[in-house]
């Protein structure tokens, strides 16, 4: 078996999106494998319940596909931005609809016993995230998991660019003080440096 020369026609996200728009479900599946991880990370951070997060991921992906097939995506608009905006709205609906305060999910460890260490980290992280103001949390999560630009985040959250910049920065700094170097949650009463 040789390594043939020539430039690989690797499918970047733009190439995949084009194919999905013309009805290629296989391309959409490939796109899903790239997006679902970060999307789940975002959704879980917002609702802190794995079943709800999975539902949000699946519903968002489905709606993305419908939008792409209907060519509803704005030309030049980012697919990611659209997808995370859907997820953001679903998560917000979810919060309004469900219990006022979603309990931290202790069953997470039991479900994911293959990844105990990172699950512990996740639990600590979610305690800390729960302490952030909702806007800060949303902005930061869209930035980190959605890999969205500040302008896209601003549009998703209906906020100004400056607000987004401040929210992300404050959210990060707050998390840095809430979690020590090993990811241990230090508690609510920690004051900002």
């Amino acid at each position: 078996m040789n390594m043939h020369g020539g430039s690989p026609t690797s499918l970047d996200e733009a190439g995949l999106i084009k194919r999905v728009c013309s009805g290629d479900v296989n391309a959409f599946e490939l796109l899903c494998t790239r997006l679902e991880g970060p999307l789940y990370g975002y959704a879980y951070g917002m609702v802190r319940n794995s079943h709800e997060a999975e539902d949000i991921v699946q519903e968002s992906l489905f709606r993305l596909y419908q939008a792409m097939r209907a060519r509803k995506l704005r030309p030049g608009g980012s697919t990611r931005s659209f997808l995370f905006a859907i997820a953001h709205n679903l998560a917000a609906d979810n919060r309004r609809r469900a219990r006022p305060s979603v309990p931290l999910e202790d069953s997470f460890l039991a479900q994911h016993n293959g990844a105990t260490e990172s699950s512990l980290l996740r639990e600590q992280l979610n305690r800390a995230l729960a302490d952030l103001p909702a806007n800060h949390r949303s902005a930061l999560m869209l930035r980190e998991f959605g890999d969205l630009q500040y302008a896209e985040i601003a549009e998703t959250l209906g906020a100004s660019l400056d607000e987004v910049k401040v929210w992300i920065h404050r959210g990060r700094k707050r998390l840095a003080t809430l979690l020590d170097r090993d990811g241990q949650y230090l508690g609510k009463n920690v004051h900002e440096l």
């Binding site: 078996m1 390594m3 043939h4 020369g5 020539g6 690989p8 026609t9 690797s10 499918l11 009805g23 290629d24 479900v25 296989n26 391309a27 959409f28 599946e29 490939l30 899903c32 494998t33 790239r34 679902e36 991880g37 970060p38 789940y40 990370g41 951070g45 794995s50 999975e54 991921v57 699946q58 992906l61 489905f62 596909y65 479900q111 994911h112 016993n113 293959g114 990844a115 260490e117 990172s118 980290l121 996740r122 992280l125 930061l140 999560m141 930035r143 980190e144 998991f145 890999d147 630009q149 500040y150 910049k165 401040v166 992300i168 920065h169 990060r172 700094k173 998390l175 840095a176 979690l179």
Partner: protein, 636 residues
């Protein structure tokens, strides 16, 4: 220093216009506080992105899309695609890596991928099972396809995937047999590009069409390190017939050094996909290579070669390699579970029981040769506590009291032969006297201690004279009784052990004859303990300890007489040349000296046999009809 960290996050996110960015960079160079704050912000990103995240959530979405969209052109196909639910931070790790390539920040220290398999989630795996049995007898699909990328028909086998920061796939070309490592974007065949590497499959772009290649049979998901201890076992027709050394693998820089339990070089190993190649080294020289394919979990590999088969067959007296398959198996030793090699366990147990003798012997020496009536009498002068003799969860210790040290020195000495008018008669009389004292034809010392071990079941005995023996071989054999091949192999090993007993007795006889006017030994009691110290050799492996398994045909006769007898026999058959210089050796090689009292039972459809020791020391196993023909004449 005028500190305003408000721009640091935007800087990290590459959201600052160029002038602001340059200003922040200048400030960071001069201000350790802000540099530290930036590090903290980066740390938060790493923590967020390196969480375990499940994948494969899209399966039901694809199902739903296909259901709602199925058009005539879309063939309804089911594919066994293992969408194993994996919680992979690989994607997140990749995202983090991308971020951390921003100016001024090195690669993140903690972007090492966390790969974990979500065994709990049945979505992917259960569907796989259904999809593999994808149609009922009348051909109707029983389950909706979990995903529907078509399986490729390209001549490729996926032998492994490695996920992480640098995803790779090991692909074998079925036509050429060649195997290479590819990364996404690599060209695999003409107009075939590797698109994506996932846990159990890869996505290929075949002339622009996306296709999936799922794991081939016996492939691996990712490769763990080989470091650690491995148990070597010998397989005949895929059954373990013996255990060998423990091997230690040490992996450095892709090369695995293999050493045996004695820390001697065993060889060097390298991995080719999931094929392990071990180059054997002996005395600094390469003496051949073994190859084998790992199991999926990389915990077991079976290796074979023609040289190995030949050497195993001759070393271990195992059945003919032409009609059987020979191999060795390496199994990773789980440090948390006990060593699986019953032979190593037995050796440790024999040592344990042997250590029980010294306090008892010391006590007996101080008490007119009498062993204690109870083990507690050994405390405190001979041993600090009776822990040494205690029964435990894994063993039951039985002490036989009321015995004495074998007083062999008080037995009459072997009569001298040089002055005796009839040394043969004197030796036979001496043996008869000793047999009276021993109470039988063999100098079996009664057992002082019997230890019954559990798991594996073995019985170890300690004689009043200090020798240990075990009854594990027969027990092992009985445990194998349902497996014909293993039985045959084990039986062969037992026969070899029996032949070894006779060879040792041949040496005992030679030593005795050398010092006693060339007379053969008159019996087993006379040679104990000067010539025969270990009475275990008097018992065949299929007999219980304390049973005499061998008969001496010619007692207390000179070798000269026996040779003459053989020559007479040859002459009577008219085939002797008295000038032949090899005549004496030929005569020695045909005089039977000892043999099995009982036939070796028939096993596996093979006829019963006997082992025979000849005067020259060689041992032959022969059928009963051969025995009658070759030994029979000397019995008369």
């Amino acid at each position: 220093m005028n500190c305003n960290d408000a721009n640091l996050s935007a800087y990290l996110d590459q959201e600052l216009p160029a002038p602001d960015r340059r200003a922040v960079e200048a400030h960071l160079r001069a201000c350790p506080d802000c540099a530290a704050t930036l590090k903290d912000l980066e740390r938060v990103r790493t923590m967020l992105l390196t969480q375990a995240i499940p994948m494969g959530l899209h399966g039901p979405v694809i199902d739903r899309i296909r259901k709602e969209e199925s058009t005539p052109s879309q063939k309804f196909r089911t594919y066994a695609i293992a969408v194993a639910m994996i919680a992979v931070a690989a994607i997140a790790g990749y995202a983090a890596f991308r971020h951390f390539n921003a100016p001024m920040s090195g690669p993140p220290e903690s972007h090492a991928p966390i790969v974990a398999i979500d065994r709990d989630n049945s979505r992917g795996l259960d569907q796989t099972v259904i999809a593999q049995n994808d149609t009922t007898l009348d051909g109707t699909p029983v389950a909706a396809p979990p995903t529907a990328l078509p399986e490729t028909s390209l001549p490729l086998t996926l032998t492994g995937t490695l996920l992480g920061g640098d995803p790779q796939a090991v692909l074998k070309n079925n036509d050429t047999g060649e195997q290479h490592i590819y990364r996404p974007g690599d060209s695999v065949l003409d107009e075939v590009i590797l698109q994506d590497v996932q846990q159990t499959r890869i996505i290929l772009s075949n002339r622009g069409d996306l296709e999936v290649l799922t794991k081939g049979p016996g492939v691996i998901a990712s490769r763990p390190r080989l470091d650690g201890r491995w148990q070597l076992a010998v397989l005949v027709d895929d059954k373990v017939v013996d255990y060998g050394d423990t091997l230690t693998f040490e992996e450095t820089g892709g090369i695995v050094r293999v050493t045996d339990s004695n820390r001697d070089d065993f060889g060097e190993a390298r991995l080719d996909g999931n094929i392990l190649v071990v180059t054997r080294i002996e005395g600094g020289d390469e003496i051949g290579a073994l190859r084998g394919t790992f199991n999926n979990a990389f915990t077991e590999v079976v290796m074979s070669s023609p040289e190995l088969s030949a050497s195993l067959a001759s070393d271990m007296s195992l059945p003919d390699p032409e009609n059987h398959s020979y191999a060795v198996k390496l199994s990773r030793i789980d440090e948390n579970s006990p060593n699986q090699d019953p032979r190593a366990i037995l050796q440790a147990r024999l040592d344990e029981v042997r250590a029980m003798y010294e306090p008892l012997r010391d006590y007996a020496k101080a008490h007119n040769g009498q062993f204690p009536s109870a083990l507690s009498l050994l405390i405190p002068d001979y041993t600090a506590s009776t822990d040494l003799y205690a029964s435990r969860d894994d063993r039951v210790v039985t002490y036989v009291s009321g015995q004495a040290l074998p007083q062999t020195r008080s037995f009459p000495g072997i009569p001298g032969c040089s002055n005796s008018p009839d040394p043969g008669q004197a030796l036979l009389a001496h043996e008869a006297e000793l047999q009276q004292l021993w109470g039988g034809p063999a100098p079996f010392v009664p057992n002082l201690i019997e230890v019954a071990y559990r798991d594996p079941d073995q019985i170890v005995t300690l004689s009043a004279q200090g020798s240990t023996s075990s009854r594990s071989m027969m027990a092992e054999f009985e445990a194998l009784a349902t497996d014909a091949t293993a039985v045959a192999a084990q039986w062969s090993a037992m026969i070899a052990s029996d032949q070894n007993n006779l060879k040792q007795l041949g040496l005992v006889n030679k030593m005795f004859a050398n010092e006693n006017c060339e007379y053969t030994m008159p019996g087993f009691c006379t040679v104990y303990p000067e010539y025969l110290s270990d009475t275990n050799v008097l018992t065949s492996p299929w007999h219980e300890a304390g049973i005499l398994s061998y008969e001496i045909l010619f007692r207390a006769m000179t070798e000269e007489d026996l040779e003459a007898m053989a020559v007479d026999y040859l002459a009577a058959q008219g085939e002797v040349d008295f000038n032949d210089p090899a005549l004496r050796a030929r005569a020695q090689s045909m005089v039977p000296l000892m043999y099995n009292i009982e036939d070796i039972p028939a096993v596996g459809g093979k006829p019963a046999t006997r082992n025979v020791l000849f005067l020259d020391g060689h041992v032959e196993r022969m059928s009963i009809s051969d025995f009658d023909e070759r030994v029979g004449p000397f019995l008369r």
